[in-house]
Point group: C2
Chain length 149, copies 2
Amino acid sequence: MKNEKVLYREYLKSKNLKLTKPRCVILAAIFENHGHFNVDELYEQIREKHKNVSRATIYRTIPLLIESGMIRQSLRCESKDIYEHTYGNENHLHFICTNCGKIIETSFSKVADQIDKLAKNEGFEITEYSLAARGLCKKCKKKELKSEK
Amino acid sequence: MKNEKVLYREYLKSKNLKLTKPRCVILAAIFENHGHFNVDELYEQIREKHKNVSRATIYRTIPLLIESGMIRQSLRCESKDIYEHTYGNENHLHFICTNCGKIIETSFSKVADQIDKLAKNEGFEITEYSLAARGLCKKCKKKELKSEK
DNA sequence: AATTTTATTGAGAATGAATCTCAACTGCAT
DNA sequence: ATGCAGTTGAGATTCATTCTCAATAAAATT
């Protein structure tokens, strides 16, 4: 967490932006979290301790955090944007169960290698992967088999 | 195009739904198109010939076409959902230029193979891939290099 | 430390894509 | 042709996200 704050401060300075209280609170809340979050969840989480951070500020802060490379947009779920923090810089491939909503993360270095090759062919420079596959998770697949009979 | 209509009729029948004029017009418009479309574009395209098909009907028809397997949701761009028809069943990997909006499609069978392996590990059954990478296309990359000096 | 400059904030209004409502309408089976 | 669903267009509604603006706070300057 210390690390993130330092990076953030530097990023903001480089853009002539200010390290304000709300921005710190939001950063901390995100890194308290593990896994994915959307704006609503984040807002509720923050509200528990800080009654005076508005949704608008969260919405305004997210692009900064993305630009600075600390979080990334990962998916869309129930017509809400979902984000995740970037620990080192590992990207994920997401398996999203269309039945129960479960999200399974897998590392994907081999997949990325293939994609990088394809990108190179096109002269395309990738800054962000967005890889997902929808379908049924193990549990829901079993349920479906049962209910068919 | 004939083919699609037959498939569509069958799908609708199987669900006790009717093959109506607006549904036909929408189907035809989609298959006139090559590549991607969003609801607005489709609406404008249809409007040129048929003044009496509403946006609402397009929005209502799209889930049917997805369910029947004739189109799929492919991306999100400028906060609009984007769709594409499924010719055979080839999926694509999309490279989306964050500067000019260009979308480059590449086939991705090798990538899919890797992903299928990962899915198998998780006992996950994939019904739909959603693979994209954002970044800069060739042209925009060049421009950026120039403007930096 | 006080002042000036400039970015930032919260609150609520505005936007815009997608969904819903409902009375009028249309396929389609009989 | 008749009747029963399912369907439609138009506009209202929803809901995530963005914008506006006067009040405020952080950094820069003195």
